[in-house]
Symmetry: C2
């Protein structure tokens, strides 16, 4: 991620620059370059919106042209929302990480156009490839900071090792405790004439066992359940 820069070309609103900086740092990018920001630089609104990503705003570099901004860049990727008829490789954003990984020893930059109209065709012509940001056909106009945000997110998750898990507790109850609870519950249900229909008792009992067996209960939670039964049966 250290080898990837974000270039904003002619951004209009400081708020978007700041929000883009925040999104960059959220996903591990720090090299922000700005070509001709409309309202000059530094910009207080950018600082305010960046919140904890102040360092990205403070270290941002401002240039007079896209050519200057990418002087040390070896691979330049131009983002677009709508299709451009240009003789150039078009890659959907979800596949950008793979493209960058193919050249991961090279300095890359991802370029974003201004809020109003995106990149011009002559800016896109400078790029090695066009990055198409997928969006709904109904409304494809993505806010500048949001475009930077999903691009950085897409790059980040391709490197991030994530895992899905049940919460791991040291305190998971053992089966004996669970069965003790189920016995107490059934016995109290018998007393309360819960199993009126004898034919359905077995399937009812099975359902109850299922509910609590799949719930990954901790000792603490089983104790709470014991307490609930005790409390509910107090008046009998």
């Amino acid at each position: 991620m250290n080898n990837i820069a974000v270039i904003l070309v002619n951004p209009q609103m400081g708020e978007n620059i700041g929000a883009a900086a925040r999104a960059m740092l959220n996903f591990g990018l720090k090299d922000l370059r700005i070509v001709n920001p409309r309202d000059g630089w530094p910009n207080q609104k950018a600082i305010d919106m960046a919140k904890g990503a102040r360092e990205v705003v403070d270290n941002a570099r401002v240039f007079f042209s896209i050519e200057e901004a990418c002087h040390d860049v070896e691979k330049l990727y131009a983002t677009t929302a709508r299709r451009r008829d240009m003789n150039k490789m078009i890659v959907s954003l979800p596949d950008l990480p793979e493209l960058i990984t193919q050249n991961d020893n090279l300095k890359s930059a991802i370029v974003f156009g201004c809020e109003k109209s995106g990149l011009t065709n002559s800016e896109i012509a400078l790029a090695d490839a066009i990055i198409n940001i997928p969006s709904s056909e109904e409304y494809g106009s993505i806010n500048l900071a949001q475009a930077v945000n999903i691009t950085c997110y897409q790059l980040f998750i391709s490197e991030y090792e994530f895992s899905n898990e049940q919460f791991k507790s040291e305190d998971v109850c053992n089966k004996e405790q669970l069965h003790n609870f189920l016995e107490v519950l059934e016995s109290e249900l018998e007393k309360g004439s819960f199993f009126k229909n004898k034919d359905k008792k077995d399937s009812m009992s099975l359902n109850i066992k299922n509910i609590f067996s799949r719930s990954n209960l901790t000792n603490q939670e089983v104790n709470i359940l014991f307490g609930i039964i005790k409390s509910l049966t107090k008046k009998r």
Copy 2:
């Protein structure tokens, strides 16, 4: 996507509500529900930020509690940036689409907490699963609208059929034209004593052939290249 709602709990800034609405429509979601917006409702800042997603703001429903907001929801997913120690399935955002697809006949909602502190533990306790939004360890505080944005993007791209492609032109030049050009180029280079070092002529010639052969040139572009040679050799 029609079966997925976004619920914002106690959002503070109208700008974030509007930006979230815009991101939703960018990625095909429309069902926005808001629990106790701090600054009341409707909110002009939300309307302004939503831009072309005005319909999402106009159709948003406001509730007094998260329980009311999800009354018709069958699967509730609570988003968090930091880990919570709660006995509940934790799924990383990139795997949320798969989780939703497993229940795609059910009404789902994704819940986002307020800007300052996210969802409370008691709000998370209502959810079927916790959705962890991956972010950098250095700065994990994601703006509310940005969190909605990447969540909607992640859902959208899982359904979206994207393809990477070279620009397909009807006008791609055939090899004869390309070879004609290469011949003219080489002959002019000979005249200009480009191949001074006879030992290197073959590898030089190979390189030149390579450059133009991999460039997916159109007829129009080959004509431009002919013109360039003509123009450059005019003074001889």
